[in-house]
C-alpha cells in the first residue's frame, strides 16, 4: 500500500488534488482512497488530505498513517506545520517553495538529516504562470509523478485530461502545462 499525506491550506485544492490522483490511479485497476480532515475549517486554515493506493480494496479508515510521500502545497506550512509527523525512514517530501533545496533545508531543522528524501518545486509560481491563480494542486501531482515514477508523464497527462473534462479547454490546457513544468522542474 502507498500512503500519501498532503499539507495544504483550505482552498488550495488539496482535496481536489487527492481526488484527482485517486481518479487517475483507479483507471489503472488499482484501488484508491482519498479523504481530508477539514470539517468546519475556513479558507486559508491549515488542513491535511490523504491518499491510499493498493491492489486490494482499502478498508482502513484510520486517519493515522505513516506516509510514503508528504506533499506540501503551501510554502509556509513547511515551516509551521509538523510535516515530518509519523514519518518512515523512506518517506519522501515534495515541498512547494521558491527557495532552492539547500536554502530551504537550512531553515527547517526536521529536514536536515533527510536531504536525499526532500524534493522542491515552486508549485505556486508555476500555477500563477500557467493557470493564473495560486492553485498548486495539479503541479504538485506532476512533481509526484516524477519523484515516485508512478506513471509516465504522457499517460498521466492523458488521464488528467479526462478527470478535468468538465472544465473549459483553456483551463485544461493550463493545467497540462502546469503538470508538465512541475514534472520537469522538481529537484
Amino acid at each position: 500500500m502507498i500512503e500519501i499525506r498532503w499539507h495544504s491550506r483550505a482552498g488550495q485544492g488539496a482535496v481536489t488534488g487527492a481526488k484527482g490522483l485517486g481518479d487517475v490511479v483507479a483507471r489503472t485497476g488499482k484501488e484508491v482512497q482519498a479523504f481530508a480532515l477539514y470539517g468546519s475549517a475556513k479558507r486559508g486554515a491549515a488542513m491535511r488530505a490523504y491518499n491510499r493506493i493498493d491492489d486490494e480494496q482499502i478498508i482502513n479508515h484510520e486517519k493515522f498513517m505513516n506516509p510514503d510521500y508528504v506533499l506540501v502545497i503551501d510554502p509556509a506550512l513547511a515551516f509551521s506545520d509538523n510535516i515530518t509527523e509519523n514519518e518512515k525512514d523512506t518517506t519522501k517530501y515534495i515541498i512547494t517553495t521558491h527557495l532552492d533545496k539547500n536554502e530551504l533545508i537550512a531553515q527547517i531543522p526536521a529536514l536536515q538529516d533527510k536531504k536525499d528524501r526532500v524534493f522542491v518545486v515552486d508549485c505556486i509560481g508555476i500555477s500563477m504562470d500557467t493557470i493564473g491563480r495560486a492553485i498548486p494542486n495539479t503541479p504538485m501531482l506532476g512533481a509526484l509523478m516524477k519523484v515516485s515514477g508512478m506513471f509516465e508523464l504522457d499517460f498521466f497527462l492523458d488521464s488528467m485530461k479526462r478527470v478535468l473534462a468538465k472544465f473549459p479547454q483553456k483551463i485544461i490546457d493550463a493545467n497540462m502545462e502546469a503538470i508538465t513544468r512541475a514534472y520537469n522542474e522538481v529537484k
Binding site: A18, K19, G22, D23, A26, R27, E31, V32, Q33, A34, F35, A36, L37, G39, S40, Q57, I58, I59, N60, H61, E62, K63, F64
Partner: protein, 411 residues
Amino acid sequence: MAEKMELNEIEVWDGNHAAAQALRQAQVDVVAAYPITPSTPIVEGYGAFMANGYIDGEFVMVESEHAAMSGCVGASAAGGRVATATSSQGFMLMIEVLYQASGMRLPIVLNVVNRAVASPLNVRGDHGDMYAGRDSGWIQLDAFNAQEVYDLNLCAFKIGEDINVRLPVMVHQDGFTTSHTAQNIRPLSDDEAYAFVGDFKPVDEMLDFSKAVTYGAQTEEDWHYEHKAKQHRALMDSYTVIDRVFEEFEKKTGREYKRLETYMMDDAEVAIVALGATVETCILAAKQLREEEGIKAGVVAPRCIRPFPFNEMRDVLANVKAVATLDHSAPMGAMGMLYNEVAGAMVSTQDRPLITNFIYGLGGRDFSINEAKRIFREQKGHADVGYITTEIQQFSGLRGPKLGFYEMKRS
C-alpha cells in the same frame, strides 16, 4: 425526459456523491431538502444533476429540516417516489415528522450522514443522530463505505415501496469517514439501476381524486394502540422483503448483503459487534490478530439496525466466548444501544457469552486498528478466565483518567 449519464465501470466517488447518483438513477419524483454539513454535497450534487438536465422530478428548497421532511410526507402521500438527505442537528429537527412518515406508512428514502449532536457543537462523525432515530418506525440500513451507500440506496426504494412493507427507509453512512472519503465505486448503468429499483407504484395516493383518502388521521385510545402494533408488526415482518431485495441485488451485481453481516465468525472465540466504517477497521484488526497472535477474532455488524436482526445475532454469537459491543454514541446514563440489543438477544440463549460495552470515537475521535486489536485482546483475556476482568462499560480513546462502569457479578 431526463438525460442519461454515461458512467465508467469504475468511478471514484465519496459517500455523498454515491448517494446523489443513486437518487438520480432511481428517478425520484420529489426531493425536498435543507442541506446541512456533512450531507450537504448529496443535495448539492442532486441539484447539479437537476440543473444539467439529468432529472425530471421536482427539487423543493425549503426553510428547515422540519419543512423538508414535511414536504416529503406531502409528496409521498400525493403518490410520488420521494427522498431527501440530512445529518445531525438537521436530523434532530426532522424527528417529529419522521414519526409522522412512518405512521402514515410512506416509503420515503432518507440519507442520514451520521454526525455528532450538539452541544458542544461538532461537525464530525458519530452515531448520535442515528441512535436518536431508532424508535421512529423507519427501516434503518447502515453502509460501512461509499460503495455500500450507493448499493443500499437502490435497495432502499425497492424495500420501502414494496406493497408488503410500505415503510420509510433510512440509509446511514458515517460523516466524513464515508461521506467525504472517495473510493473506487462500481455503479450500475442508468438503465440497469432503474430496472432494478422498478417503477414507483402508488398506493392510496391523494392525487387520485376518484378515491378520497385521509392521511394523518386522529385516533385516541380506541384505535391508536392497534395502529402502532400493526406498524411494529410491519417493521418486524419487513425482513422477508429486505432479504429478497438483497438476494436480487446480489444476482444483479455479485455484491452480497445480509441483515447481519459477519466476518471470520465461523470459528471465532471473541467478537466485536460494531456499526459504520469502524466495522472495516475491526475486520483489519481481526485479520492481523489471527495472523500475528493466533487469536480467533471475528466481527459482527448489523446492516439492518431496524428491524434488529435478533435471531441472526443469537445464531452467530452462539459459540463465542466474549463479545465487545462498540457504541459510537454517548450512552447518557445507560449502556450503549448495541450492548443492550446484543445482551437482550443473548440472554435468551443457553451459553451466554461475556458481553462488554465500549463507547468510542465521539465527535470524530479517530478509532485505530491498534485500539481494535487491544479490545479484541481484552476479550480474549475474559474468555480465558471465564469472567469479565474489566469494567463492563469502558470509554475507548478518552483522554484523562480512565472511565468505566459496573463490574461482573460473580457468585
